[in-house]
Structure formats: structure tokens, C-alpha cells
Symmetry: C2
Subunit: 465 residues, 2 copies
């Protein structure tokens, strides 16, 4: 630990007492999370209780150029929570108050540590819900920071779309509000969208103002099997072009279905399968389901099933809910490594076919699960943590997938972010644009104390002149 970091820790302990911990178990816990990447623990952890706490901590750290890493629930997948250069991790999970809900305006303001499930629980009597659902019960601040999405994005958008404003503590300790509660604005640069997805590298989000959605009168689910991935994707393309406002459209490949049948005791045809959900009035949902079934049949869909009652829907979607555990059960003792490319939807059939060839070539087990309405899909690649050769084949698979995504106009990450895991891929995706990212990072965080070593190596790019 450097002299400067020591001085920072002394000042932090003086200010915060027991809320700062240097215990090894606490520090290690904050380097674990769900990521498969190598991570480093911080030198200390602060459990912040207010924006003022965060301001004081940032001011103290800044004085000593001590790095700061924000932490919500530790559920990011690309190493975002690793303290690459040591320093202080600020745990925001105790900032868990829903500060305000406006039913008339369908918006709310929450502290950054509120999780998505806690928010939805607190909205139970309002007729509103918060639609963004990454797999984990992540914190809203963390979800904003990674520009998270999930299965509802095709209808309800991503964190980019639902965040109206953020309270952010800047690297110099100033507090700003990035937006307003107006539904739209043309007032200057869009700082909200700049901090959404910045992964804590430009400042620390302490409060989030969100758009909410009305709970639909009726929800129906449908499941259909298809001869090929291309048939399933064509079905979704047709559905979207027909302006059927699907709420969810999830694709599982044949291997994933087989894993689910085994794990969840379902009896689905072991073929590429779509899981859909429809939201709306009773009449409109009925119409949507009928339209979908007709389109699915045109594309060779079979084993068509649908349901409206909550329990039946849940049973129908069981296989989808359990993909992660079903996959891990294929080879006990393995870790799951998630991939995350997103491509124009017309490219999906070809990209998925090539990906499945790669999985075979490389001798890997990697079932597929995709948010196919967005063109985003994941493999859950099984990795034996003690097999370095398998690790290098997993890395090669990821490299091939990302290369292919970029070749067809897609992105190296649909919803997981860059962290430490995808820095070189971001450079390939952004090209000359990296100088602008670096210019922004340098301008807002000139001391490079905010989550350093994530998204980009700022020193690799010259200032704009």
C-alpha cells in the first residue's frame, strides 16, 4: 500500500469510524462478485449511507490520488468491481431508500443501492412497475452504470431509456444532477446518457430518477419450437415488423432446451425454441397471441403452447428461468462464462450458426440463450477452473464471436459492459472514437481516480488538439 493510500485510509477512518473496514474478508468479498475474470481486492471498503458520505470519501481520496471503486451488489460480469490499483471500494448497498414515487408522472427517485426487486416490491400498490430485469437482483446504481437491460428490453428499453436523471458525485467531490423530471429535454449535452454505462469511471451515482411503466391488465406467455434457429429468428422479425408489441422474445437453442428438460423436468422438443410474453388489455393480448401463433406456424413452428394465468405462465417459462443452473448442471464443478454480443437482427441466424460451429470446433459446452428481439444473445460457456487449455479455448470462442459481431455491424457487449474484460475489444469497436472517450475521461477525471483500469486505458490515447 502506498504512503498516500495509507494517509487516505487514516483520514477515512477518522471521518467514518467503523463504516470503513480493512478486514481481509470484507476486502476479498468486494473483489469476488460473479465475474470469471481475475480481480484484485481494494485496500479498504467504505459502507456509505448518504451522498454526503460519498462526497467526503471522494474528497479525501482525491487529496491523495487514491483510486475509488463503486460497488452495488457485485453482480457485474466483466470485472467492473475489481480494485485494479487498490484503493477504496465504496459499497452503496446501505443506500437503499426509495425516496419518491409519483403515480401521476409514473416516475420515482431511488438511492443507488436499491435493488430492482426491492424497487418492484415497494411499487406493489401503485399499479406501476420497473421493467428492466438483468438476471441478477442488481442495484439500480449498478444497472445504470453498466447500461443493463434484460428480457423486457424489446418492449421497455434499457437503462439508457428509463433513467431520467442521476445524482452523481464527480471526481472533485462536486455533486451534480444530470437531468430533470421532464420526459424530454433539448437542454445541452446529455449528461444522463453519458453517466449511464460509464461503469463508475466518471463519478459515483448516488441517486437515480427512473421512468416506470403501468402494470399491464393482462400478460400471456407463449412457447414455440422451430426446425432451425433461422426459422425462430425469422418469426421474431415478422412479429416485430407486424408491429406486435412483444414484451419479451427469448430464444434457447436445442442444447439449452435439452439441458433444461433434464434440469427442470420439462418436456420441450429439443429444438430451437422461442419464449414470448405479451402485455396489454385482455382483448389486445389475445389478438397478439393469435397473430404470433399464425406467424410461428408459417415459419414451421410446432409444439405451440400458451398460457395467461400467472402460475401457468411461470411453469411455461420454467426452462427459461433456469437456464443458468441447467447449464451448470451439465458438468458439475464448472464455472459459467457468459458471452454477450449483439448484432442487427437480420444477421442473427448466420451469426448463431457460425457460433455453434465454433463451439463444436473448440470442443466446448456452451448452450445459447438470446434476447432475440434485440439481436443480443449469450452463451453460457462451461469452464473447468483448473483447465488452462479450456480457458484459452473459451477466450478464443469469445474472440471469434466478437470479431464476427463487429464484422456485421454489431457490438462486443449488448448489456454486460467492458470492465477489465473487453478493453481491447472496445478499441476494435470504437476505432478513432476512442480518442473522444479518452478526452472525456481525462476532462472529467483528470487524476484518473474513478474506477481506473476499466473501459479504457486513458494513457493510450493522445489528447485531442
Amino acid at each position: 500500500m502506498s504512503r498516500a493510500t495509507k494517509d487516505a485510509l487514516t483520514a477515512l477512518t477518522n471521518r467514518f469510524g467503523d463504516a470503513v473496514s480493512v478486514a481481509a474478508s470484507v476486502r476479498d468479498h468486494h473483489a469476488q462478485g460473479v465475474t470469471a475474470h481475475a480481480t484484485r481486492p481494494p485496500d479498504a471498503v467504505l459502507f456509505a449511507r448518504s451522498t454526503e458520505d460519498v462526497v467526503d470519501a471522494v474528497r479525501i481520496c482525491r487529496e491523495q490520488n487514491c483510486p475509488i471503486v463503486p460497488f452495488g451488489t457485485g453482480t457485474s460480469t466483466e470485472g467492473q468491481i475489481s480494485a485494479e490499483q487498490g484503493g477504496l471500494t465504496i459499497n452503496l448497498s446501505q443506500m437503499d431508500n426509495v425516496l419518491r414515487v409519483s403515480a401521476a408522472d409514473m416516475d420515482c427517485t431511488v438511492q443507488a443501492g436499491v435493488t430492482r426487486k426491492a424497487l418492484n416490491a415497494s411499487l406493489r400498490d401503485t399499479g406501476l412497475f420497473f421493467p428492466i430485469d438483468p438476471g441478477a437482483d442488481a442495484s439500480i446504481g449498478g444497472m445504470a452504470s453498466t447500461r443493463a437491460s434484460g428480457t423486457n428490453a424489446v418492449r421497455y428499453g434499457t437503462m439508457r431509456d428509463v433513467v431520467m436523471s442521476l445524482k452523481v458525485v464527480l471526481p472533485n467531490g462536486d455533486v451534480i444532477e444530470t437531468g430533470t423530471r421532464a420526459r424530454k429535454s433539448s437542454a445541452g449535452y446529455d449528461l444522463t446518457r453519458l453517466f449511464v454505462g460509464a461503469e463508475g469511471t466518471l463519478g459515483i451515482i448516488t441517486e437515480v430518477t427512473l421512468k416506470l411503466s403501468p402494470v399491464p391488465d393482462r400478460m400471456s406467455a407463449a412457447v414455440a419450437s422451430f426446425p432451425t434457429v433461422a426459422d425462430a429468428v425469422s418469426t421474431v422479425v415478422s412479429v416485430i415488423q407486424s408491429a406486435i408489441p412483444i414484451a419479451r422474445a427469448e430464444l434457447l437453442d436445442a442444447q439449452q432446451i435439452a439441458a433444461c428438460n433434464r434440469y427442470s423436468k420439462t418436456d420441450l422438443l429439443e429444438q430451437p425454441t422461442l419464449f414470448l410474453e405479451f402485455h396489454g388489455s385482455e382483448q389486445h393480448v389475445g389478438e397478439q397471441v393469435e397473430q404470433f401463433l399464425a406467424i410461428a406456424r408459417e415459419h414451421g413452428g410446432s409444439d405451440l403452447r400458451w398460457a395467461s394465468a400467472a402460475e401457468e405462465r411461470s411453469r411455461l417459462w420454467q426452462a427459461r428461468h433456469d437456464v443458468w443452473w441447467a447449464t451448470l448442471a451439465l458438468r458439475p464443478g464448472s464455472r459459467g462464462v457468459p458471452t454477450d454480443i449483439c448484432v442487427p437482427i437480420s444477421e442473427l441466424p448466420e451469426v448463431i450458426a457460425a457460433t455453434e460451429r465454433d463451439v463444436n470446433d473448440l470442443g466446448l459446452i456452451a448452450p445459447l440463450c438470446g434476447h432475440v428481439g434485440d439481436g443480443n444473445f449469450h452463451l453460457c460457456v462451461l469452464l473447468d477452473p483448473d483447465d488452462p487449455d479450456e480457458a484459452s479455448r473459451v477466450a478464443e470462442l469469445n474472440r471469434r464471436m466478437i470479431t464476427r459481431a463487429l464484422d456485421v455491424g454489431g457490438t462486443c457487449t449488448g448489456e454486460h459492459g467492458i470492465g477489465t474484460g473487453k478493453i481491447p475489444y472496445l478499441v476494435r469497436e470504437r476505432g478513432a472514437g476512442m480518442t473522444v472517450l479518452a478526452a472525456i475521461k481525462r476532462a472529467i477525471d483528470p487524476r484518473n481516480i474513478m474506477n481506473p483500469g476499466k473501459i479504457l486505458s486513458v494513457e493510450s490515447f493522445p489528447p485531442l488538439s
Copy 2:
């Protein structure tokens, strides 16, 4: 004209020949547009034909620190096209090619000079349309630059939502692509959203990749009169909370309706009136109209009218289409000065009532027209160009409206932007956040050559340290 600008013009003429003009009529034309603000003509105008033209012009200007102002159709309202410090205006209207349309992916790429109507004309046989509709037939590049929206925003979003990627010429002449064709991405800072709404102060947009929407099977229009503005707004709040996906929800106040009845020979009740539009399948649109009419009746709605055939819809909406001209006809010889606040929708009744009191107090004529589903509304304030006292009362009205909007959590501009007209109001709205705007401007355009004097006075804010 400075020596440096002269040198720049010589170099530009050598490179571009007749495509550069210094004729007074051409220069004056590029300072006019529709704005009521004082503007200054540039020293020269370049009619660019390609991104390469823009790159060469930017490189030449940069060499001499010669200011550059981008120009599409000149339909911005806040002085965005004024050459505040002279220099070169780059007219992009000849860059008017639709470069690519993908029906399967429902997206397209256009040159910045394509207008929204030209784009829609070119999409006629695709089953797709581009939904953003500011009043004017603006260029897509200009609409991106002001983060424009219009009457469809409540359903289809604003330019923030539909722009997928931009080709931008940076102030140093480098060309970047800000995004990809993926529907979503978590790959680093969101440069697309940073350049959308930057009003040309960070670089020049030369190409735009856009999401398109499927043309709905059916469109229906409905019109309803209400005893008070509050009743009309409550109706729209109820409609949105009932998850009825209205495509448009426009409010005209009693004075505006009176003006329209006179101008358009309509026979509407001279009361606050909602104009709505519903898009979807035949069955779903029918259901939406029925639900709307029931809600409208609950809130005292009367004189309810609806129509589906294109001609009838158009006739029903006639008053809405003609508001600008109907207002100007109230006092021939006047100019129309548009205001543009946006507030949380629950605040609209109170804000509109207070605004109407201000209009009376100040002795002005200013009918109201609002995109009420977004909380955004405009007055068209009549101004006698030869009456400085009236001009100061118009400014006072605008000041009061913006103050009130900011007080209730709204914004000083919903869709028109800052330009030269709202610089002090942006400072009030953004507060401490202005240092971040200035840091970004300084980092990307360190010579301050890109549309200088718009959005912010960068020298007013110290660098972040």
C-alpha cells in the same frame, strides 16, 4: 474579417472553387432561418457534397482557428445557425442521399442533409416510416443536433431514442462513427447520445443511422373538448396510466381553438381541446378509441369526434395542423415567437394556468399548443417587430415560464435547444453540471471552433481538476 479568416477563405476557395460563396445574399440567407433572435451572417458558405468535403473544410478552418457553423434547413428557433464570430457556414443540404434501408432490421442510414419528409417519401414502399416530426421539414442532421421531437414523441420517442449511430467530423478533422447497428450496447461511453443535442458544438454530423417503425395497419384520430385545461391533462394522464399506447396527444387552449376556428373555418367548441391519434391493428385501434372516449367522458369531455379514413382524420386534425398560421392571422404583421418548456405531466395544469395569467398580465397574445403526453407545450407569442416594449414583455413571459418550469422539476427546452437564446437559462437548469459540459466542450473542441457561442460560453467555467 481577421487575417486568419481571410487565409482560411483563400484556402477554401482553392480547394472547393464555386462550392464556396462569399456573396452577401448567400451569407445573409444563412443567418435568417425562422428564429426571432438576432443573428450574424458567416464570412462564407460552403455547400458540402460529402464527408470528405467536410473533413477538408474543417482541417483548413482549424489551421486558422476559423469558426464553423453547420447548416441544414435553417429551421432551428434559438439562433443555432447564427455565425456569432463569423467564419464559415457549412451547408449540408446537398448531402441528401438515403444511403441504405434495411427492412428486416428496420433501420436506415442517411446523409445529414436528407429532410424528414424526403426520408419518408423514400420509405414509401417499405412498410416503414420515420416517426419524428418537428413542425418544419428539417434535415435529419439538424434534428439530431437539436434533439428534436414533435407530436409522435409520446409513442415513438425523440431523436435521442431513434438515432442509432452518427458519422461525425471532429474539430480536428478525424471522422468517427459513434455507435453500431446493434439495437443496444453497453460498450463504453454513449457518444451517440452526446452528439445528439450538441447543436454542432462538438463536431459536424454527416451521416445518421436511424431506427424506423412499421407503418401501423390502422390509424384513428379523436378530438374532445374539456371544461378546463386540468380536465384535458387529467384525461391524458389516465390514458397513459391505462397503458393505452397513444401515438399523439396534442392540447390546444381555448384561445388557440378560437384562432383556428377563424382561420381554418372549423366549428370546434372554444374550450381546451385534445387531439389524439391511435396506431395499431384495426381491432386494437378500435379498442383504444373506445377506452379513450370513456376516459374523456369521465373527465367532462364533450363534442367528441373520431375518424379513421385518412381524409377524415386530416380534416379532424385541421385545426392542429394550422395553429402557427392561425395564430399569426390574429394580428397580421406580427412575428411568432415560440416558447418551449417541458414539465412533469402532473404539474401541467398548474403551470399552464399560471402561464395564462402571465399572458394576460403582460398584455400579450399567445395561444397554447402542447405535446401534452410529454409535458411539453409551446406558446406562439405574437410580437410586433417594431415594438421594443412588447419585445421586453415577450422576454419577461419566457423568463417567467422557464423559472416556473425549473421550479417544478422541468426543463427550459423540450425540443428546440439552447442556441444563443437560452444560454443563461441552461446555466440555471444545470447548475454545477455546467462545469462538466464545459469540460467536455474543451476536451473535444479545444480551439472552440465548432459553432462557438452556442449552448454555453465555455470560458465562463473553470476546468475540472
